[in-house]
Amino acid sequence: MYFIKEALSSFRKNIVQSIAAVTTVALCLVVIGLILMVMYVGGEIIEGIEKKVEIEIFFDNPETIQSSGRVTARMDKIQEIENTVRAWSEVSKVRYVSKEQALDKFKKDFQYNPEVIQNIEGNPLPDSLRVSLKNPRKVDAVANRLKTIQYVKDLAGDLDKNVQYGKDTVKRLFAVTRWVSIAAGGFAALLIFVSLVLITNTIRLAIFARRKEIGIMRLVGASNWFIRWPFILEGMFEGFIGAGVAILILVGIWRTLFTNLASGKVLAFLSFQIDQTAFIKLILLLALSGAVIGSAGSFIALRRFLKV
């Protein structure tokens, strides 16, 4: 079509401006893409840390229960609690930790202070249920709900003491992760804004340099849209190519990082992974936004030269 031909030939003939626009789009999208990637990975890491928040229900020692005359079916009751809680939609995992397992853990923690261990007689540690949540932010609500279960009241006695989830630690953790996300999000938003300004700036400069041409076209009787279309298509084209370049660079960075990280030991504990779909989505998003930014930039930049 005429407009497309016109846009392509203009792209070719104004190669300096075209290259400038493509570079700007590409570099901006690379930076944005990188920060999105970092935010994604960071989000996974934070989620991983938050997942470690769990609610512990310590049960009173059987002896104590015995003395209150309710020995029978203790394990049944615990099983019952476990089943009930597991059915809750907020809960992802419920794990029973026996007295013996707790003692093993304790001994391991204190292996360098044998005196402590030596002085413990028998097994003073309680058995417990550990409840992990799908959304750790609901820990407060779930804990409160746990405390209303009759069997928990029966077996854990002093609820405030025996239903535990490190309230303060959790609060602090969430405060930190919240602030990190806000900061990263703010930075990303700033980068996107800056990129938009820079890209429209570049396109505006390119079009400004051609304002005389635009004036001539108008004097020869071209309507505004007739003038506009090739510019918009050219901007779209530049945005597209820029996004393409950005994608190539991002894939390159991604590959190098991965091989480097996979060979090092860092990968292991960062559990560094992005699934394929997220990456493809990112790529498509970049290509699309490149084209949109390019054409919108042209459109905006043209306005002031198209007042008849």
Binding site: E213, I216, M217, L219, V220, G221, S223, N224, V308
Partner: protein, 228 residues
């Protein structure tokens, strides 16, 4: 075809370039616009094209009130006017062919028509061998001829020409004037601003003379002037 009523035009704050100009050109006329440098010839022509509005007065072109025209209608007005600009106003990124073709694309002519008509028009002005040159690869006179070719490529009912032959040698000028004459005879109204005494004197057409923004003479079968 053209009517100016009490038209004045002053560029911001300056002493006016046109003062109280009244003129009428009927369809099919051939008019020379003469006057010393800076007397307002280009301003006259640019008003007709609605490159800007007059400070005062009425400008009517092809029956349309140019002053109160809606801005979206302006391109349609201009498509009916072919104009040769004093500074050519060629698109630097388009070849001679493409420059002329652009005037036809604007009015929606098909590729076919363009491909036959453009070389034909460029041949008429003697540039058949330079179709693919960019403006800065052409000599001054050749650029002027591309501008001329573009102006009448789509056979507009009104042809304006500002300093038509300033960069052309007498022989080529004569050729162009003969061409204009022929175009005029097919019914096109032609208005030519020029300094070329030789041409004006030899053609003996209507002459409108400007001086300091005022019309000082409007003469059928006129000559360039009395001076020196």
């Amino acid at each position: 075809m053209i009517r100016l009523k009490n038209v004045s035009k002053s560029y911001d704050g300056d002493k006016p370039a046109l003062i109280d100009v009244n003129a009428a050109v009927t369809k099919g006329e051939f008019v020379f616009l003469v006057g010393p440098s800076g007397s307002g010839k280009s301003t006259f022509i640019r008003l007709l094209l609605r490159e800007f509005l007059p400070s005062r007065g009425e400008v009517i072109v092809a029956g349309q009130d140019v002053v109160h025209m809606r801005s979206w209608k302006v391109p349609f007005l201009r498509r009916n006017i072919g104009c040769v600009f004093q500074d050519f106003k060629l698109l630097p990124n388009k070849t001679a062919f493409e420059n002329v073709a652009f005037a036809l694309e604007v009015i929606g002519r098909s590729r076919n028509v363009i491909n036959t008509q453009v070389p034909e028009v460029l041949r008429l002005v003697g540039l058949e061998e330079k179709l693919d040159r960019y403006p800065d690869e052409l000599s001054g006179g050749e650029q002027q001829r591309v501008s001329i070719a573009r102006a009448f490529a789509n056979r507009p009912p009104l042809l304006l020409a500002d300093e038509l032959t300033g960069n052309l040698d007498p022989a080529t000028s004569l050729g162009i004037m003969t061409l204009l004459n022929r175009i005029n005879r097919t019914g096109t109204t032609v208005l030519v601003a020029t300094h070329d005494r030789e041409i004006v004197d030899s053609m003996r057409r209507r002459v409108i003379a400007l001086e300091d923004g005022r019309i000082v003479r409007d003469q059928l079968k006129g000559v360039y002037g009395y001076e020196d």
